[in-house]
């Protein structure tokens, strides 16, 4: 089948080094490097294509749950169980700033397009926007309309989108000054935006991925087959938006056809829960991380 051949299903590299679960693996802006973070409180910078560990960043007091790199690759931010958002310098490995304020663990962080702000999603039911430009450590804004833990956040040029355990995907349109709340009825684990920006993919805890039209809030498609009931597992879309990728709690990675929601391909990527799936911004390359402490690089 031609569809499967263009999917990254062959293991290209195995990144070993984390002790304990790896909670997130993310490509940088151009896809040449990857940052991973995990239970061992470290963030590691890799060259995933050559399988080399470049640097280890240590400062977090507890597990690190998410990490995101600026578009110019100079800085990155991370967050985790110590309720803080760290703003790092990539090359020196120093923490530039720590943003404190969340009342609970911080589940996800993202930079905006211009890397001027960091948005963090926390267990305290809020999204917080932190300023990287000024020296202020107070949040620029606190969005607290969520009714439960916010698990995931995605930013577009004009919007902040958050997915929460209360079952909603809320879009905060800064330009319009509006909040759109799409209630899916199931706890939302992870959200990810399609590359054309028209759809939001929401991974729900009923082992279902749901594809929503962003303009209308319509449910476009439902993807099933994987297991996602109690862990934070990631989902994403391929660069061409042709396939939906989801990690499963049994260590499998699933590929669905975007349109007809068929499982196009699935394979065992890890022995344990796949915590994170991240797709290369340009090429057909994928990173998966797992509780087993490994990160794998997949290519076609």
């Amino acid at each position: 089948m031609s569809a499967t051949t263009e999917l990254p299903t062959k293991e290209a590299n195995l990144l070993k080094g984390h002790e304990g679960a790896v909670l997130a693996a993310r490509f940088n802006g151009d896809g040449n490097y990857a940052l991973t973070c995990g239970k061992d409180r470290t963030i590691r910078l890799w060259n995933p294509h050559r399988g080399i560990l470049i640097k280890t960043y240590k400062s977090h007091g507890r597990e690190v749950r998410d990490v995101h790199v600026t578009s110019d690759n100079a800085k990155f931010c991370s967050c985790g169980g110590d309720r803080q958002v760290y703003y790092w310098d990539v090359s020196t490995g120093r923490v530039i700033r720590k943003f404190r304020g969340h009342d609970g663990e911080v589940n996800a962080v993202k930079f905006n397009d211009s890397s001027a702000v960091v948005v963090s999603a926390g267990f305290d039911r809020s999204l917080r926007v932190w300023d990287c430009r000024s020296h202020s450590v107070e949040p620029v804004q606190i969005i607290d309309t969520f009714l439960d833990t916010v698990m995931s956040v995605v930013l577009t040029k004009t919007e902040i989108i958050g997915g929460s355990v209360d079952g909603t995907v809320r879009t905060f349109d800064i330009r319009m000054g509006r909040e759109m709340s799409d209630n899916l009825g199931q706890p939302v684990n992870c959200i990810s935006i399609s590359n054309d920006g028209n759809c939001v993919l929401a991974g729900c805890l009923d082992s279902t991925l749901r594809l929503l039209d962003r303009t209308t809030g319509e449910l476009l498609q439902v993807y099933k087959g994987h297991i996602s009931k109690s862990f934070k597992t990631d989902c994403c879309l391929t660069n061409s938006d042709a396939h939906v990728i989801g990690g499963s709690e049994d260590g499998m990675v699933y590929f669905w056809d975007l349109v007809d929601a068929k499982v196009v391909s699935k394979f065992r990527a890890h022995d344990l829960v796949v915590t994170s799936v991240s797709y290369h911004p340009k090429e057909d390359c994928m990173l998966t991380s797992s509780v087993d402490g490994t990160v794998r690089v997949w290519k076609k």
């Binding site: 002790e19 304990g20 679960a21 239970k39 061992d40 007091g61 507890r62 597990e63 749950r65 009342d103 663990e105 589940n107 905006n112 211009s114 001027a116 702000v117 267990f123 305290d124 926007v129 300023d131 430009r133 620029v140 804004q141 969005i143 309309t145 009714l147 439960d148 833990t149 698990m151 040029k157 004009t158 355990v165 209360d166 079952g167 995907v169 800064i174 330009r175 000054g177 509006r178 909040e179 759109m180 709340s181 799409d182 209630n183 899916l184 009825g185 706890p187 805890l205 749901r210 929503l212 809030g217 319509e218 449910l219 439902v222 109690s230 862990f231 934070k232 344990l272 829960v273 509780v291």
Partner: protein, 941 residues
């Protein structure tokens, strides 16, 4: 000076001055003559023949080396000459400790090394060695007459003791323990070993005395041997702690972690107990119950407490089981085990003798006697059995009655009775006492046939459940008709056929056709299902038909009038009664449908009425139904709601976007508590002053004293009174809240009540007087009637958009008021637009104003949250979460609820009364909440 010097150019070597050389020579001479010897060692200089200072000892700074600079001199040692290592490069010699030891040290070392002294070493090699050496020495000391090594060859020293020789004869080999000798030498011993297959050769290693004695007695070895054996055997016994590991002597792996010692010991003993292993939970002993499941290797700081979030949800293995990793442990069969085995062999424990007679006898009880008439099969006294009971006597096969209608009726009825039970037959018999058609029930014509049919049907039914159909009903097989075959195969009869038979019995069937046609096209699957499944008015076919008609109408709202005329029910009241019946029956059917659906899916449907052409299996319908359900659920979700949301100006700036709310008044801090929002304004007024983000301005509202607040500050007023109304007591309350939650609640309630009454009284007068001063008309009654909204609502957002300005209105100036009122119109327009867009804020109607709505929203949020939580906890309890979600979803939330409550109590406090109010209607819809809100307002007013 430099300039002059630079001009000179030197060529050649300058001639050394005469006196320098002379002095050096003198020195050399002096040195040679020993004049310098008097100097201390470190001042002496070594010179060559020429008297030049000899350069050596580069490592110590040159010019000196060796003891008193003796290196290279006659009395000193010569430095090693260079030899190329090229040729003997690979010849790296193995160094031994003796290379680094002096002679005396070597001697000492030899003295320390353990070796059996020659006099006790009977058969050791050392003894032989010793004697040989001794002989050699003696030979050297007193040289014999015969020179050369000849006598050495002749007279060899006795190398071994006789004991060793004997042992060797018996099969012992050097390096083996004595124990093995017996093993290999003695055939009986061999046999016994085979007998003791389990315990293998563990005897050799450790044992108890008794065993040794026992084995000794068996083996017929000489006394010397037994002594030897005894010696080698018994030594380990005196070692209290037999060394069972492979660590070096004296090495203690638990030296720095004594906690683990106990752990290990218990593990060892546990492993000795066969098959049962209960590891001592280490975490208990170390950290106590506090430490939950922690990720291995990631401890937290000493000052931090282990929290719920430190648990390792991903943990695949158990920390309890980890222990200090020791080097490989030799598998060591246990002592007791062997003891037990050997004792079993002889049937007595060592030290005990078997009793010759015992009074213990096993008492045996006979099994209970089974009554003769007992059938080893339980029969349930359920309805099914009662049904099958009459089948005991097989009614004779009877030809069907000539009347086709009657035959059909009987067939149908029999099927029905067989399905619904005998009770139904009795019932219908009673009911149709006078009905000619049902004569067969009372033994009239066709009774035999009915009995036969009934029996057949029952057989069929029971056969279906027991899968014994063909065995049980051989006679009916020959008589299989299309209907029976169809029903056997689970085919469903076409309804049309039923119709025809029915109509043929009740009315002339010609004009029935159109309705049938419409049926086939329009009847929904569900209703058809229902109608097919249950025929509650079976006994009265006409009625049944009417019922079906009724159902049809009910489900798709067809024309009734034409149909109802068709049936010749005389009285209106009878018809009404019937209709009621139908309603009830339809409802019952609806209810039973779901269950039926399931049942039909599992057991293939045998069908209900004779005669059928339409073959549909139940399975597909089932699928269709679930599909419908799916559609339904997907329709409810996702739900989209839209709210207004105000991004912070800085956020807009950072996103490089124009602020959508630019120029509009800054968003008020959300009303912290009721006092904030209440103040002295009626709902509608203060509403506008609430959150700027959710302002409402309603054009239709009547205008009412727009400038009241502006002037408030200028008026003198009693301070305490003012304070009572305006001061923010709750600020303090909030801080106290965590400590005395409930008391505070009550207090606040009182406060609130007092405040509101004061509000009303004072605000009324106040406004009135103010209004008079300003020349406005003020209505006498302070509380505004419900539904009317004063115009202030519109002005407020511009003038005093937030609570703080309201409290300190002195800052406000008239001109500002004016400019803001200029904006009013556009503002209004916008807000009306907004209103269309976001229905949520205005769902309450006109009397809802923005601050109210913000509060309202909050309440809504609150109640929603509660609802959600409730739902969550429900789902939590229902679904099993073996693993907990780390990233803070559900189960954990529940546990942390309390802590969060604490954390959020600050916020919560402010909302408290609201939540309380809404708590009653928490789970109800918006309607109810609105109701309660209204009620509350009324109370307030």
């Amino acid at each position: 000076m430099g300039l002059d010097d630079d001009d000179f150019v030197f060529h050649g070597t300058p001639i050394e001055r005469e006196d320098e050389i002379a002095s050096r020579k003198k020195k050399a001479v002096a040195g040679a003559s020993g004049t310098l010897k008097t100097l201390p060692a470190w001042k002496q200089e070594v010179t060559d023949e020429e008297g030049r200072r000899r350069f050596h000892g580069a490592f110590t700074g040159g010019y000196s080396a060796g003891y008193y600079n003796t290196v290279g001199s006659k009395e000193g040692w010569a430095p090693q000459s260079f030899t190329s290592s090229r040729k003997n490069r690979a010849g790296a010699r193995q160094q031994s400790i003796s290379d680094f030891l002096d002679e005396d040290e070597k001697a000492e070392l030899e003295g320390q090394s353990l070796s059996a002294s020659s006099q006790f070493d009977t058969f050791g090699f050392t003894a032989a060695e010793q004697s040989r050496k001794q002989a050699e020495k003696e030979q050297h000391e007193r040289p014999s007459a015969i020179p050369g090594p000849v006598h050495e060859e002749l007279i060899a020293p006795a190398p071994e003791s006789i004991g060793v020789k004997l042992l060797l004869k018996m099969g012992w080999r050097r390096g083996h323990s004595i124990k093995d000798v017996r093993a290999s030498s003695d055939a009986r011993r061999e046999a016994r070993k085979a007998f003791l297959a389990f315990s293998a050769d563990e005897n050799t290693k450790e044992s108890s005395d008794s065993l040794v004695l026992e084995t000794e007695a068996e083996t017929s070895l000489g006394p010397q041997f037994s002594e030897d054996i005894k010696f080698s055997e018994t030594t380990p016994v005196y070692v209290l702690n037999p060394k069972q590991d492979l660590h070096g002597l004296g090495y203690d792996p638990f030296k720095h972690a004594p906690e683990f010692r106990e752990n290990k010991r218990s593990r060892l003993t546990a492993s000795k107990e066969v098959g049962y292993r209960k590891p001592l939970s280490m975490k208990e002993s170390l950290f106590g119950p506090k430490s939950g499941k922690m990720a291995p290797g990631f401890g937290i700081g000493a000052l931090e407490e282990l929290d719920v979030e430190d648990e390792d949800v991903y943990a695949g293995y158990d920390f309890d089981q980890t222990y200090v990793i020791e080097d490989e442990q030799p598998a060591r069969p246990s002592n007791d085990n062997r003891l037990r085995l050997t004792s079993k062999e002889h049937n007595v424990l060592p030290g005990f003798g078997a009793a010759s007679n015992s009074d213990y006898s096993v008492e045996r009880f006979d099994p209970p006697k089974i009554p003769k008439d007992f059938v080893a099969r339980h029969k349930f006294s359920g309805p099914r059995e009662t049904e099958t009971k009459p089948t005991a006597s097989t009614p004779p096969d009877v030809p069907p009655p000539e009347d086709k209608n009657l035959k059909l009726l009987i067939d149908g009825f029999a099927t029905f009775v067989s399905r619904c039970g005998k009770l139904y037959e009795d019932l219908s018999r009673e009911k149709n006492e006078s009905n000619q058609l049902f004569d067969f029930l009372r033994g009239g014509s066709g009774h035999d046939y009915y009995a036969r049919r009934l029996w057949e049907e029952q057989q069929k039914r029971s056969g279906q459940s027991n899968l014994q159909l063909d065995v049980k009903v051989p006679p009916s097989v020959q008589k299989m008709t299309a209907e029976t075959r169809g029903s056997l195969l689970g085919e469903k009869p076409l309804q049309k056929s039923l119709k025809e038979t029915e109509t043929s019995s009740s009315s002339g069937g010609s004009f029935q056709f159109p309705t049938n046609l419409s049926d086939t096209f329009t009847k929904s699957a569900s209703s058809q299902e229902a109608a097919d499944a249950i025929k509650p008015f079976k006994e009265d076919l006409a009625k049944q038909e009417r019922f079906e008609q009724f159902l049809k109408e009910k489900y798709k709202g067809g024309l009734r009038s034409s149909d109802s005329n068709r049936f010749n029910i005389v009285s209106e009241s009878a018809r009404a009664q019937e209709r009621l019946d139908f309603e009830a029956a339809a409802e019952a059917i609806e209810k039973g449908k779901a269950y039926k659906e399931v049942r039909r899916a599992t057991e293939r449907p045998i069908d209900f009425l004779a005669g059928g052409l339409q073959f549909t299996s139940g399975g597909t319908e089932q699928i269709k139904d679930t599909g419908v359900v799916d559609m339904k659920t997907s329709k409810t979700y996702p739900k989209r709601e839209e709210f207004q949301w105000r991004p912070a100006p800085l956020l807009c700036k950072r996103f490089d976007l124009p602020d959508p709310f630019m120029g509009k008044p800054a968003a008020a801090p959300r009303a912290r508590n009721k006092m904030d929002s209440l103040l002295f304004l009626p709902d509608t007024v203060k509403a506008a002053s609430g959150s700027g983000a959710r302002q409402v301005s309603d054009l239709q509202e009547p205008e009412k004293e727009p400038e009241v607040e502006v002037e408030v500050e200028n008026v003198e007023r009693p301070v305490d009174l003012y304070k009572a109304i305006f001061s923010d007591d709750s600020e303090d309350d909030e801080e106290q809240q965590p400590m005395n939650g409930k008391i505070q609640d009550g207090q606040e309630k009182k406060n609130e009540a007092a405040a509101t009454t004061l509000n009303r009284l004072i605000a009324g007068d106040f406004l009135e007087s103010l209004g008079k001063e300003l020349g406005f008309e003020v209505p006498s009654d302070a509380p505004y009637p419900e539904g009317t909204k004063p115009m202030e609502a519109d002005n407020k957002p511009k003038g005093k958009s937030d609570a703080s300005t309201e409290r300190r209105p002195g800052l406000k100036e008239k001109p500002e008021e004016k400019t803001s009122s200029l904006k009013l119109v556009s503002e209004k327009e916008k807000s009306t637009q907004k209103r269309e867009k976001s229905p949520r804020n205005w769902s309450g109607g006109n009397d809802l104003s923005s601050s109210e709505s913000s509060g309202d929203e909050r309440r809504r949020k609150r109640s929603k949250k509660d609802r959600h939580r409730n739902y969550d906890s429900e789902s939590d309890s229902s679904s099993d979460y073996h693993k907990r979600d780390k990233h803070g979803s559900r189960s954990r939330r529940k546990r942390r609820e309390s802590s969060r409550e604490k954390r959020s109590s600050h916020k919560k406090h402010s909302k408290h009364h609201k939540t309380k109010d809404s708590s009653s209607s928490r789970y109800s819809g918006d309607e109810e909440r609105k109701e309660s809100r209204r009620e509350k307002r009324r109370r307030r007013d």
